[in-house]
């Protein structure tokens, strides 16, 4: 079966935009999910970023490394939304639960729950008790594996400041982890040293 040659293909702006953005979409969603902690909020954030970026198609075409640039854009949109939400007197409640909302110890622990699952619950709980800057830093660096240099580009914060913030965030995280009673009990029973 032969394909009839058409006139030279001329892509529409939408086709070009989708061609450029599609490879980054899931990666951006993942970052958005780490920042928001909620699936719908993450999808909405990616949507918002795409809506903001479409008019900047010409600029996007000239960018050599899109991933770090897109991460930065998404981060800024997220921070803008965060600031707006803080100013808003209304609490917006999503229809999906945040992964960070379950408090370890509030639910029955089935016998087959593994040590790593308990640790996972405990970490998810502890992360919510960091302040916003600390949580984002832990998410970017320790969860998603961004280097400090990459985070510096995303956040426009000096490297030294980032490093000391990260150290404080980790210290706070460990402090909260030690305070989570169910895991502390578990540790005592098992005779495992706290982390």
């Amino acid at each position: 079966m032969a394909v009839i040659n058409m006139w030279p293909i001329r892509r529409s702006d939408h086709q070009l935009f989708e061609q450029l953005m599609r490879p980054h979409l899931k990666y951006l969603y993942r970052l958005a999910y780490r920042l928001t902690g909620q699936q719908h909020a993450a999808e909405d954030l990616v949507q918002e970023v795409m809506l903001k970026l479409f008019p900047r198609l010409e600029e996007i075409e000239k960018i050599e490394k899109l991933s770090p640039w897109l991460s930065k854009v998404l981060y800024r949109v997220f921070i803008d939304q965060l600031r707006k939400d803080k100013r808003s007197p209304v609490d917006l409640i999503g229809d999906d639960e945040s992964i960070y909302e379950t408090q370890p110890g509030k639910e029955q622990q089935p016998a087959e729950v593994t040590e790593s699952e308990i640790l996972q619950k405990k970490i998810q709980y502890a992360v919510t008790h960091l302040n916003e800057d600390q949580r984002i830093l832990i998410m970017l660096h320790d969860v998603e594996g961004y280097s400090l240099l990459e985070i510096q580009q995303i956040q426009d914060v000096p490297l030294g400041t980032l490093k000391s913030r990260l150290n404080r965030a980790r210290a706070k995280l460990r402090e909260i982890l030690k305070e989570v009673e169910p895991y502390a009990t578990y540790e005592r029973v098992k005779g495992v040293r706290g982390i």
Binding site: M1, A2, V3, I4, N5, M6, W7, I9, R10, R11, S12, H14, Q15, F17, E18, M21, R22, L25, K26, Y29, R30, Y33, R34, Q39, A42, E43, V46, Q47, M50, L51, F54, P55, D96, I99, S116, L119, Q120, I123, Q124, V127, I138, D142, V143, G145, L148, L166, N167, R170, L173, R174, L177, R193, G194, I195
Partner: protein
Amino acid sequence: MKMNCSETRVRLDDYYDDELSVLEFRAVNEHLASCDECKHELQAVDALRQALRDMPVAEVDDEFENRIFGEVRKHYSGASSSRFAAGFMTAMAAGLALWFATSIFIPQLPVDDASQVVMVALNDAYEVRLKFDAPVDLEQVTLSIDLPDNIELEGYADRKELTWQTQLKQGQNILALPLKAVAIGEGELVAQLFYGDKSRSFRVILKTTGNDALIYQVRKFNSV
């Protein structure tokens, strides 16, 4: 450079991230080689980092990308929010394609003129494929496409008529037209093929109905 336990422990995260200077790295290494307590602390760093990396991410569904780009198209294309546009777009996402068979230069072959109804939704493109059967290789064939007012060819929003020269291979030849509806209505897409003093044309009716059904219908061939 020698380090005690407290000097080592404040550097364990950086050691884990490979962010120490060479001298510090060596000193921490030396200390760890002889201190089980600090070695245990390093294992705890590893366990915590592993658990952090294992934090789950809720998976998006298969329509996530289409949803995102669909909204962008809708937002930046006023006309594309019509029901007609809606039709074309989802159909392509669903991988549907209509095939209109023709038998140019072989009049005895039947023409596929069956009507088809395709249910479609908002914000996608639709690809109509025209199939031409040629008895032999043909050079210097002229193809022309006329589009109704409510239809655009993706990337050619400014053109309603397109004419170009091409060649056909013996057997089946496929012309894929990425179409996009830009207004509610009904119109005819006319494809014409010219070779020497012969020509063939066919028409595709494109329209929407009140319940979002998009109807494609091929009219009989007309010799010109």
